[in-house]
């Protein structure tokens, strides 16, 4: 009996993630993004500078100055040749990877540009959100559309996977936009404030994490919504798995995973992954694989294997010295880049 116990505990013990390299940027890592080919990692500091590292070794390729007063977010153009950044100087900048220079400085329309998102497909479009202002830009930085002001500050933006349709969230609900039209395609109203948006990869659902400690599922075919309650704090962490079956959410110390297969998630009991000792800052499924990574203010990164409520477990872990602020899987799902509160950027191998 005791031998069996020993064996099973040895099997269940998570392995340490192998650290490939680690570096430090000027301050709190506010955003982190792998280039689409996985060669580079871009890391933005809350103070402004954006650093481009090589993905596989500790080498700085470019040090962009970013934005005065602070950078808010970054996004790679799908061809990987340009990185877009948005900041508290009201600007969107396009940084050319070949020359290392900013080729464009675009006016977002308010004091802070908080969100940017590139569409996929031919001739990608960059959407930017500054205050209530939503603007669309083409690959060469020309303004293609400026929408009438939203009713309240835009708190998130995301293009529908593989389709040129954009969703924006505000206090008041979700809005859908077609870049060819100046009017909203649809408004899904709800009195509350959404903080983060995630389309399911199949485009059938939009999930939002909300200020009032709930998660919303918007069912795109019917426009109906489901509200999931019971979170201890506001929810800023949401991530779909590749099959669109599972939605992982934060909103406290535990990772909560909703199963959307069958009739779910309505009326189902979610999978709860416990272990973190402080508030979660990020949850992220692999792009194609089934592993789920979580990062927390306690400085720990856990990689979970999902097998129902009883058999889900941590398979890998890593400990940082300060709180995790962001975490992203490499395009091939083999590496995790992690940013922390004191500017640490680390890349771990999963195998």
């Amino acid at each position: 009996m005791s031998r069996l116990n020993n064996m099973s505990s040895r099997i269940l013990q998570p392995s340490q993630l192998r650290e490939n390299w680690t570096a430090t940027i000027s301050d709190h890592v506010i955003d982190l993004a792998w280039s689409p080919d996985g060669k580079y990692i871009a890391a933005a500091s809350v103070l402004g500078p954006v650093t481009i590292f090589e993905g596989h070794r500790r080498a700085v390729i470019h040090a962009f100055e970013g934005h005065e007063f602070g950078t808010m977010s970054i996004a790679w153009r799908p061809d990987g040749k340009v990185l877009a950044s948005a900041g508290q100087d009201g600007k969107i900048r396009l940084w050319d990877m070949a020359s290392g220079e900013a080729t464009h400085s675009l006016d977002g329309g308010a004091a802070w540009v908080e969100h940017i998102s590139w569409s996929g497909g031919e001739k990608p479009i960059l959407a930017s959100a500054a205050g209530r202002k939503l603007k669309l830009w083409n690959v060469v930085g020309e303004l293609v559309r400026e929408y009438p002001d939203h009713q309240s500050t835009i708190s998130g933006l995301q293009w529908k996977p593989r389709v040129k349709q954009l969703a924006s969230i505000t206090y008041g609900g979700v809005m859908l936009w077609d870049p060819q039209q100046s009017e909203a395609l649809n408004r899904m109203e709800w009195q509350g404030s959404s903080l983060v948006i995630a389309w399911s990869p199949d485009g059938k659902h939009i999930a939002t994490g909300d200020q009032d400690s709930t998660v919303h599922f918007w069912i795109m075919s019917t426009g109906e919504d489901l509200q999931m309650t019971g979170y201890p704090t506001k929810v800023r962490e949401v991530s779909w798995d590749a099959t669109s079956r599972y939605l992982a959410t934060g909103g406290g110390q535990d990772v909560t995973v909703w199963d959307c297969s069958g009739r779910g998630p309505a009326g189902t009991k979610p999978i709860t992954l416990s272990g973190h000792q402080d508030f979660l800052s990020v949850v992220r499924f692999q792009h194609r694989g089934k592993l789920l990574a979580s990062g927390c203010a306690d400085g720990l990164v856990y990689v979970w294997q999902l097998r129902g409520n009883l058999r889900s477990r941590t398979v890998h872990e890593a400990a940082l010295t300060t709180g995790v602020t962001n975490l992203v899987w490499s395009p091939n799902d083999q590496y995790i880049a992690v940013g922390d509160e004191s500017g640490g950027v680390s890349v771990f191998s999963i195998s």
Binding site: D27, V46, M72, E114, T153, Q211, D212, T233, E341, S342
Partner: protein, 450 residues
């Protein structure tokens, strides 16, 4: 040393007041007099005077009401976004000032620091400071909910522009404000000149100091407005009144030891109890007797004369619900006017008909934590909308340390404070809000004593 420094949270002062009250003048004074401190300013209003600081962030007031419709869940989205971002910087600020618009409701601003976990973790609401234009506030105090709520929510109130009003006007204003908010520290200022330690790092929890500044701040309101002590002989007496503003008036006549202030004072508390009893109505022509009865004089007859029966000569205190002048009430003995030897006016509990008032409770002894918890939970659930602020220092049974707390509407934040040591264990708390029932609150609280 205050709590904000111990737990590494950055203190925040919320500055409210109508446009033109002197908010920006005060803000500029704070910024210039605090050299070496990194102060971030969040401004919702760009007034006629600019703010002289590198770290001014303009924000558009954005109120997030929640789907459940509960006003206590209403927070300020703009503040969460801006402060959340500021607190990510390693080179953190020493202090944050949030200047609201003159028409801002202070509720959502204050609630932001309790409702949002991120804000609660990193920031500490130090005080709500309200600047009042002593000359022009009268235009707003009666018909503006915002003006009244800014006063009610305040921990510190600056009566500014005192050079534009007379001393009497100031006293009236201060009494009016004190009636609405019994816990705020009030300072009179000209050009918003005030010592910085009265504005910054005051610590919302520092009730001790509030009580030092104004020992009357817990003074209760009374169910009567006036009392007089008469020396009465064994002869026939008569209380004669004229028609007045009310159809009835409650009175109580109580024997006292002697006709002195001390003897009157000693009678106050027992008579407060008498005034909480059921009243006995007495029509004109009836007889009023000294003793522990609450009498409601019916004042609807043509001739308002009541006999007063005195069996033993001595000093008697007459307590009246309204001031006797309102009814030209006079006492006669053997046809001659009898004047009170000692008299006193009391702060009535209906002084200005202000719906916004404070209720202070001070009780020695230890509290039963379970009963206290149940009572507070129930109170906040049912009355939270009307309770703007709540603060207190409590003595919990078995706990060596004082327990200090403050709340905004239904939100509550409490923690152990310094030890009691030799100090007498005592509970002090104050509620500021709309339509508060003093008797019910006091009774509910006292039922929590262990």
């Amino acid at each position: 040393m205050n709590t904000t420094m111990l737990n590494n949270q950055v203190p925040v002062t919320v500055l409210t007041g109508f446009l033109g009250s002197g908010k920006t003048t005060l803000l500029n004074r704070i910024l210039t007099e605090n050299h070496g401190k990194r102060i971030a300013v969040i401004e919702n209003e760009f007034g006629e005077i600019g703010v002289d600081n590198d770290l001014v962030i303009g924000a558009e007031e954005e109120i997030f009401e929640m789907n459940n419709g509960c006003i206590c869940c209403t927070v300020r989205g703009d503040l969460i976004r801006i402060l959340g971002n500021l607190m990510k910087r390693r080179d953190k600020f020493d202090y944050i000032m949030v200047e609201t618009t003159g028409l801002a409701d202070p509720g959502p601003v204050a609630q932001t620091f309790f409702m949002d976990t991120e804000m609660q973790e990193k920031l500490q609401l130090d005080s709500v400071t309200t600047v009042v234009d002593a000359k022009h506030i009268w235009q707003h105090i009666d018909d503006s909910d915002e003006a009244r709520e800014q006063i009610a929510f305040a921990d510190v109130i600056l009566l500014n522009k005192i050079d534009l009003v007379t001393e009497t006007e100031l006293e009236q204003l201060e009494a009016r404000i004190r009636g609405m908010n019994g816990a705020a520290k009030i300072y009179r200022t000209k050009n918003a000149v005030v010592e910085m330690d009265k504005i910054l790092n005051v610590g919302g929890f520092d009730l001790d100091r509030a009580m030092e500044v104004d020992p009357q701040f817990m003074e209760p309101e009374y169910p009567f407005e006036w009392a007089g002590v008469y020396n009465l002989s064994e002869s026939a007496h008569e209380l004669v009144l004229q028609e007045g503003p009310d159809p009835t008036m409650k009175v109580a006549l109580a024997p006292v030891n002697e006709s002195t202030d001390e003897a009157l004072e000693a009678a106050v508390e027992p008579v407060v109890m008498v005034f909480s009893d059921n009243e006995h109505e007495l029509s004109a022509g009836g007889t009023l007797q000294p003793g522990g009865q609450l009498i409601a004089l019916n004042l609807t007859a043509d001739e308002l004369r009541f006999d007063v029966q005195i069996d033993r000569p001595g000093a008697y205190a007459l307590f009246t619900e309204h001031h006797p002048d309102e009814f030209q009430a006079q006492l006669f003995g053997s046809g001659a006017l009898v004047k009170p030897v000692v008299e006193r006016e009391f702060k009535p509990d209906h002084e200005h008909d202000d719906e916004v008032t404070s209720v202070g409770i001070t009780t020695p002894g230890d509290l039963d934590p379970d009963r206290l918890n149940d009572w507070i939970s129930d109170l906040l659930r049912t009355k939270g909308i009307d309770i703007f602020r709540m603060k207190g220092i409590l003595s919990i049974k078995g706990e060596p340390n004082r327990f200090v707390f403050q709340g905004v509407h239904m939100l509550f934040d409490g923690r152990p404070d310094r030890p009691w040591d030799g100090e007498p264990r005592c509970n002090s708390l104050i509620f500021i809000g709309r339509n508060l029932d003093r008797a019910e609150l006091t009774e509910g609280f006292e039922a929590c004593l262990a």
